[in-house]
Symmetry: D2
Subunit: 153 residues, 4 copies
């Protein structure tokens, strides 16, 4: 595992995660996912709007929001434990709260518990027009962290 970045306390920074996203998760590009902010306490990612994401009613399809939620929690986890690519989601629960406008969606993830084997985080999804106080969705997810000898693909 890499040393922690001395300024940020992160074990993987925004550029490091963006590299994993672009080189190892081709589906993330299809969903227009980009990193916005990397902090010790939270990570924000964005799903860039595309007409391909529309569903009947002119709102965004649920899978875009589920993919964004999952990726943002993955980013948060890797910022804390380093580039453990083989960490995998074991559970995700999402509540869809308001109809998302046909526009970019942002996701802000924060950690509820970071253990040795399991990490649980929550993520709030919101449109820029409504803001984080009126979220379009809220999710929690659990990631399983592989033991040290089985962390790289």
């Amino acid at each position: 595992m890499p040393d922690s970045d001395s300024e940020t306390g992160l074990l993987l920074n925004a550029d490091g995660f963006a590299t994993i996203l672009s080189e190892r998760l081709p589906f993330a590009e299809l969903m227009g996912l980009v990193v916005e902010e990397f902090h010790r306490d939270y990570v924000i990612m964005r799903a860039r709007y595309s007409e391909r994401f529309l569903r009947p009613g002119g709102t965004l399809a649920g899978p875009i929001m589920m993919g964004l939620a999952d990726a943002t929690i993955y980013a948060l986890l890797l910022s804390r434990i380093g580039p453990v690519e083989l960490a995998v989601t074991t559970h995700l629960s999402i509540n869809f709260l308001r109809k998302p406008a046909p526009a970019d969606v942002l996701a802000r993830a924060s950690m509820l518990k970071l253990g040795k084997r399991l990490a649980v985080a929550e993520v709030v999804l919101y449109s820029e027009s409504l803001g984080v106080e009126k979220p379009v969705a809220h999710a929690t997810a659990t990631y399983s962290i592989p033991p040290p000898d089985r962390r790289q693909a």
Copy 2:
């Protein structure tokens, strides 16, 4: 709402749903989703494998499975209530159980409760190589059914 198909008891058949999928949900095509079976008691859909769906470890990315689960429940619901395109997911909870091989994934959805305002269904996701007895994921989802005067986009 259309009359029920007299043979199948369905209010929307496989072809009708495939049309909604191709004309109204462009993201479903990106995910390679196709209808396999439409029955009164269950619906099966398939996500056709693409290298774009891979994640580190050589397995399928979670969002593919979440999108497939959500779409299969949408199909099952519409088969029961007709082409109510504006039905929307309010909640989805998914457990990832086994690593999905880099291959097609199937999803089999069945209804737990079909009410006037809410429908709850479960869906089992599986690889053809392992079969439905060793599912790769299991999800439940709730759909909100709009009142009769607000059902079409």
Copy 3:
């Protein structure tokens, strides 16, 4: 529906909810549930410790925490919509994060979305010794709000 309390903006206050709890939910007393704080933005309830709540390992049994989570969200909802006793949980999802000490547990609920038919809230459960920053559990729940003519038992 009663008029809102002019000072607090609440449609049901702590005493009103405590009455519902004691007269209408006998199980809440078995679980030692009491109201701690009623505010517009959040409600805090407490499950008073009893040896009956222990499970192997000397921690608290999960059902106590699930019951506390559910009741706290019920309290929050009724503080906003008034004494609509027939509001019912349609879904609850809980993550158990840390082992709860054999002591009182507190729950702090806040609203994610209050709609006409559905309300979604989240709740953080914590021991006084660890504080809300190290929660023992986190839950989200959806309540179904009955139409105005079917709100009283």
Copy 4:
């Protein structure tokens, strides 16, 4: 770990689990929980009706059903791995589907995935009057299985 019962293939039988329930989980008795059936593929438990379990509307309070669901999955897990009392729930998600009559509730749990560290199971809750085909609730839960050297309290 005990040897498997040669006839049933179970590592803990109904009597063994009933002993854990009565000696180690006092809250289970408050909820009226009793074992009905222990099989290799599923376990059925019952929550015996009491007026204390009523909620407004004359139906059963949610926490009774959550407690029954959790205990039934615990029973199923221990029937497979033996009396590992320190196995703990890490996540539970429940959908309430129909109003439960003021009567006994039954729960039938089956395993979705039994791994070395995590087990995921589903459980269907039903009233005897309606039967398992019209469930009053459906839940899934994940249990964390402690490593062999940390299994006894």
